[in-house]
């Protein structure tokens, strides 16, 4: 058997998406205040969940390639276009802090009842429409500073993949330790009761600091 299966059918897409949404909502990522609390250093859940997921998936992919279950070059690896990808990252970071979501979490927010997520989604459609209208003029910037096709960190740095994985795992552990020092100082991670307090998000509940135990 060789992986990936190359299945792009609806059934497995629905199942994968279902668990993706279940985890996002379970982590609290349907709540915009929980999400943006990353950027006030109050709640490191965004960093913790993303870094852990990257380390787990990257380690799994490396192991499966090492034992030959995944053919080399079989996975989709994005290519760097430095300015457009850095610029897009800046816009998404800024829009996330203003609007409270990214595309995937806005879908989770809407699914858990949040009307502000719908406003965010309408904004996204408008932003994508503007991009499409300006695309011809943006093309030079869009394609500028192209990196080596499908380049990975181990190729860029000339290091073996396990070394990269250990560095990423160390960064994740560092994030968890840093969070333990900082989160309490800024009120502590937001609980489900806090983001839903006083009858729900519509009441504009005040986020009181949680007593440290």
């Amino acid at each position: 058997m060789t992986l990936p299966l190359g299945d792009s059918g609806a059934v497995l897409a629905l199942i994968l998406g279902f668990f993706f949404g279940l985890v996002l909502e379970g982590a609290g990522f349907g709540s915009p205040r929980k999400l943006v609390a990353q950027f006030t250093l109050r709640d490191f859940a965004v960093f913790k969940v993303m870094m852990t997921a990257v380390v787990v998936a990257a380690t799994g992919l490396w192991l499966l390639e090492a034992i030959g279950l995944i053919g080399s070059g079989a996975l989709y690896v994005p290519t760097l276009f430095f300015w457009s990808i850095a610029g897009g990252g800046v816009l998404i970071g800024a829009g996330f802090a203003m609007g409270g979501y990214c595309p995937g979490t806005s879908a989770a927010g809407l699914a858990s009842g949040r009307i502000d997520a719908l406003a965010f989604i309408v904004g996204m459609l408008a932003g994508i429409g503007v991009f499409a209208l300006l695309f011809d003029g943006l093309r030079p910037f869009y394609n500028a500073a192209q990196g080596a096709p499908r380049q990975t960190l181990d190729q860029l740095l000339g290091l073996p993949v396990p070394v990269i994985l250990i560095v990423l795992a160390a960064a994740a552990v560092g994030g968890f330790l840093l969070a333990r020092r900082l989160e309490g100082r800024f009120g502590g991670p937001l609980t489900s009761a806090q983001v839903l307090a006083d009858g729900g998000p519509s009441r504009g509940a005040k986020l009181s600091a949680q007593p440290r135990s």
């Binding site: 299966l5 190359g6 897409a13 629905l14 998406g17 668990f19 949404g21 279940l22 982590a27 950027f39 490191f44 859940a45 913790k48 993303m50 852990t52 997921a53 998936a57 499966l64 989709y76 994005p78 457009s84 610029g87 897009g88 990252g89 800046v90 816009l91 998404i92 970071g93 800024a94 829009g95 996330f96 802090a97 203003m98 979501y101 990214c102 595309p103 995937g104 979490t105 927010g109 699914a111 858990s112 949040r114 406003a119 965010f120 309408v122 996204m124 932003g127 429409g129 499409a132 960190l153 860029l156 993949v161 968890f176 609980t191 489900s192 009761a193 009858g199 729900g200 998000p201 519509s202």
Partner: protein, 169 residues
Amino acid sequence: MSEPRPFWNPLVAGVALGLVLLASFLVTGHGLGASGLFTRLTAGLAALVAPLEAAANSYLGGLVKAGALGGWITWEVLGLVLGALAGSLFGRRFRIGIERGSGVAPGNRLAWAFAGGALVGFGSRLARGCTSGLGLSGGATLAVAAFVFLIAFFAAGFATMALVRRSWQ
């Protein structure tokens, strides 16, 4: 109303997300995404409002001609919505409302959400992906592009939050 169940521990959620992401690679050869669906929705809406212009557009035209919503990502995001709905209902965390800071009027929160969404929509097309499709999925393949994206995303998030903090209080 009954008490909401607590959110998952971030370590548990992170491991679970990593396993779902790994499964996505093993099934499809690529990771999970989200912004692609909103691009397809934009193409579909444009085709309804202005069919000729939409088909002629250099960015969306291809999607319009191929059938805007006919992709893998449509089913995946539909699954995402169903999973988040199921999780919020089971966890007693489903509430219809506008989540905002106590000092922020509902209309202002919706305006901020729209403006932030517009930047994210534009940015996701510029970067050729979003936090999921480029940051998370690209990160799992150790793609250089993903880490350039993630560094820019976190730096801009902290910088912007320093400016807009009052819109959340």
